[in-house]
Amino acid sequence: MSSKIKILVPVKRVIDAALKPRINKTKTGIESQGVKFSINPFDDIAVEEACKIRKNNKGLVESIHAVTIGSTKAKEVLRTALARGADTSTLIEINEDKQIEPLAVSKILKKIVEKEGSNFVILGKQAIDDDSNQVGQMLAGLLGWSQATNAAKIIIENDNLIKVEREIDGGVEVIEAPLPIVITTDLRLNEPKFIKLPMMMKAKKKPLGVLKPEDLNVEINDRLETISLDVPPTRKAGVMVKNVDELISKLKELEKQA
């Protein structure tokens, strides 16, 4: 095999997937005080997959680098990625209250790809906080690379060809592309394992660099403005009807009310 694979895994710190997010009092965002944050589940899958690719293709993967954009608290998710098996990591530090849009994220990631010399980017298909589902695609566009979104299975072919299976309506779509490539992960790709203590301890000694967007010459401009956030109206409970007659009379009642 000619070129070695250098993997980059972007990860994001988000409100824990098992929790119900609450809108803050000013209706400008999600309440984050006293709320548990974890690594975005799709990104966790991406890290796990990167490690699996290394394990299953001896000698093929040269390095796995994890990167996140966030406040210093986001170091947590880098530690998770390092403990899972990433070698090195970078935090692109921004202000804690700053929400950064997918295009800006992609521009920053492009710089990191260049800096690290990565040729294989694997990341979640979306972050579960804003559900944008844009970064992978935008990054591939900016880099001019192949992209395979919503990967349910990744196979590294011998001739340096990457084969990706995607679940689509009524079947599986298989796409193939050479390096370099951007792949986004779907839930089906793998199930991240529990991380063992020795790995967690080792992770503390692995490199974690900190950079600012300015260091990468990326300007962060907001293009979107959030006017207000609201919870969807709660649905009214349904009514059970015993028979057709009752159904018809209920419908008539509702019609009168309307």
């Binding site: 997937a17 098992a18 548990k36 974890s38 529990f194 203590l197």
Partner: protein, 516 residues
């Protein structure tokens, strides 16, 4: 074809054969007491107190109320009453007392000592329809509920208000707060929040003659006279029917971590506990231990990969080779602070080789998954047909010896095998709340039978007595342990209890054949 056939007949009838034996037939020495028999007039009378849907007489609908969670005890009640108000409970009991009709108070029916189901034809009084949250005081954390509120519902309600119920246990989705108080349930977080004797502030209880005792006014400090509510905490329906509970709830911890550890022997488990107490201090909220066989049982019902298994094993459930496991939980208000403490602790125990392997939950989902490997053991223990459960307090150092002795005894008597389906016992496993000196010994069986029972009792009780333990740490006495209280309590104590019972329930209508 033939092989398939023999296999299926082996599995099914074993579970069914014994689930149909009535308690009264299994224990022929116990005779029905001199109680009234329900007649049409009685039904008429109850129909005046309750509306038709609060009265169950259809035998199909009654089945579930006659049978306990382990399917070990089966009663023959013909009548279930589901009062909605305290006054209705009072009127029912007043009448039953006059007519000398025996009753069983029933909560979520998750009790593990046969206390919640009738032995003969006692009337089941189910609290299921008394399920309102009465009030919650946001500043003091005092929650007042009807006795029939499901524990998990109470906790979810508190969670929305930033509080937590000071009790948690595997049956939380089914058991009632009233049932928890009636059994003085201990559970998974006693280590942190203490026993119900401390957190319950007041109760509303209907006595055998219909009198309503009410101390729901809930003062944290009140030193006027005897603390009567304590009598009902752990009274298992023998002194009155609890209808309302007032309980002090702590603020919900903002940061929770769960670690799951593998250890080489029992001594390391106790060492690990010592270290956890001294290094984690106030944030340690649970310390549960499990032996390997308990994990093997759980693996067979959970059907997922064990948290400490690393290789991708397809299909078959397997568990790594550690003889013991520990689930340790921290709860605090400051994540950074807790993380640093926990990390330091874990480093120490790994370095000193007290712990040989382990993991820490990275998110809520993992946290819940780790707990299933502890909480799932109860259910997994009866997957082969049934379980003999012993819930005992013992000094830490001799705690696991009980499990070893029982395993040895069952093997010597050739009653136990995981492979041979003809043996009545599948396996004996041990786990429990090390933090409280509380061991659960579960003997998973393919059938309930006298031979196994004779092998276990009084052997287990004698072991406990000789090691100065208690025969029931938290599940209570109920029907199963009525005759064994002498192994843990003196004659004077037992006589005082009997006096109380006689005084408050002179006709003995409340949960007869049980407790004392």
């Amino acid at each position: 074809m033939l092989r398939l056939f023999t296999r299926s007949t082996r599995n099914i009838p074993l579970c069914q054969r014994f689930s149909s034996t009535l308690t009264a037939d299994k224990y022929p020495n116990i005779k029905r007491g001199d109680f009234g028999k329900i007649n049409d007039e009685d039904i008429n009378h109850f129909s005046k107190i309750l509306s038709p849907n609060q009265l169950i007489t259809d035998s199909n609908d009654i089945t579930g109320y006659n049978q306990d969670w382990m399917k070990k005890y089966i009663g023959q009640s013909k009548l279930v009453l589901k009062p909605k108000t305290t006054e209705q409970v009072s009127e029912i009991l007043k009448y039953c007392n006059q007519r000398k009709l025996a009753v069983v108070p029933q909560g979520g029916n998750t009790g593990l000592v046969g206390g919640s189901v009738p032995v003969f034809d006692e009337i089941v009084i189910s609290l299921a329809s008394m399920n309102n949250i009465r009030s919650f005081d946001q500043s003091s954390g005092i929650l007042k509920v009807d006795a029939g509120v499901i524990l998990e519902n109470a906790d979810n309600y508190l969670s929305e208000n930033g509080y937590i119920f000071p009790l948690d246990l595997g049956a939380k989705g089914s058991c009632f707060v009233g049932g928890n108080v009636a059994t003085n349930a201990g559970g998974l977080r006693l280590l942190r929040y203490g026993s119900l004797h401390g957190s319950v502030l007041g109760l509303e209880v209907v006595l055998a003659d219909g009198t309503i005792y009410n101390s729901m006014h809930s003062l944290r400090k009140d030193n006027t006279g005897y603390d009567l509510k304590q009598l009902f905490i752990g009274s298992e329906g023998s002194l009155g029917i609890i209808t309302g509970v007032s309980i002090l709830c702590p603020a919900r911890p903002k940061s929770v971590n769960v670690a799951f550890l593998g250890l080489e022997n029992y001594e390391q488990v106790t060492k690990c506990f010592q270290k956890a107490k001294s290094e984690l201090g106030e944030i340690l909220s649970a310390f549960e231990f499990m032996d390997k066989d308990s994990q093997l049982l759980a693996a067979q019902t959970l059907k997922t990969t064990h948290p400490l298994c690393q290789d991708d094993i397809e299909g078959i459930e397997s568990v790594p080779e550690y003889p013991f496991y520990v689930l340790l939980e921290t709860s605090g208000s400051n994540k950074e602070h807790d993380d640093i403490k926990l990390e330091k602790f874990l480093e120490d125990v790994m370095e000193s080789e007290i712990v040989v392997d382990g993991t820490v939950s990275q998110d809520e989902q993992q946290l819940k998954t780790l707990w299933t490997w502890r909480e799932g053991i109860a259910e997994a223990s009866q997957q082969f047909g049934g379980v003999y459960k012993y819930d005992v307090s013992l000094p830490l150092d001799s705690m696991y010896k009980l499990v070893e002795s029982v395993k040895e005894r069952l093997n010597e008597l050739e009653l136990s095998s995981t492979e041979d389906n003809k043996k009545p016992v599948y396996e004996a496993v041990g786990y429990g709340h090390i933090g409280d000196g509380n061991l659960h010994l579960n003997v998973a069986v393919r059938e309930y039978n006298k031979e196994v029972e004779k092998a276990l009792e009084p052997f287990v009780y004698e072991f406990i007595e000789s090691h100065k333990g208690s025969i029931s740490a938290e599940h209570g006495l109920g029907f199963q342990k009525k005759n064994y209280i002498k192994y843990s309590k003196s004659e004077t104590e037992i006589n005082m209890m009997k006096d109380l019972k006689k005084h408050y329930d002179p006709n003995g209508i409340l949960n007869p054949y049980k407790y004392i």
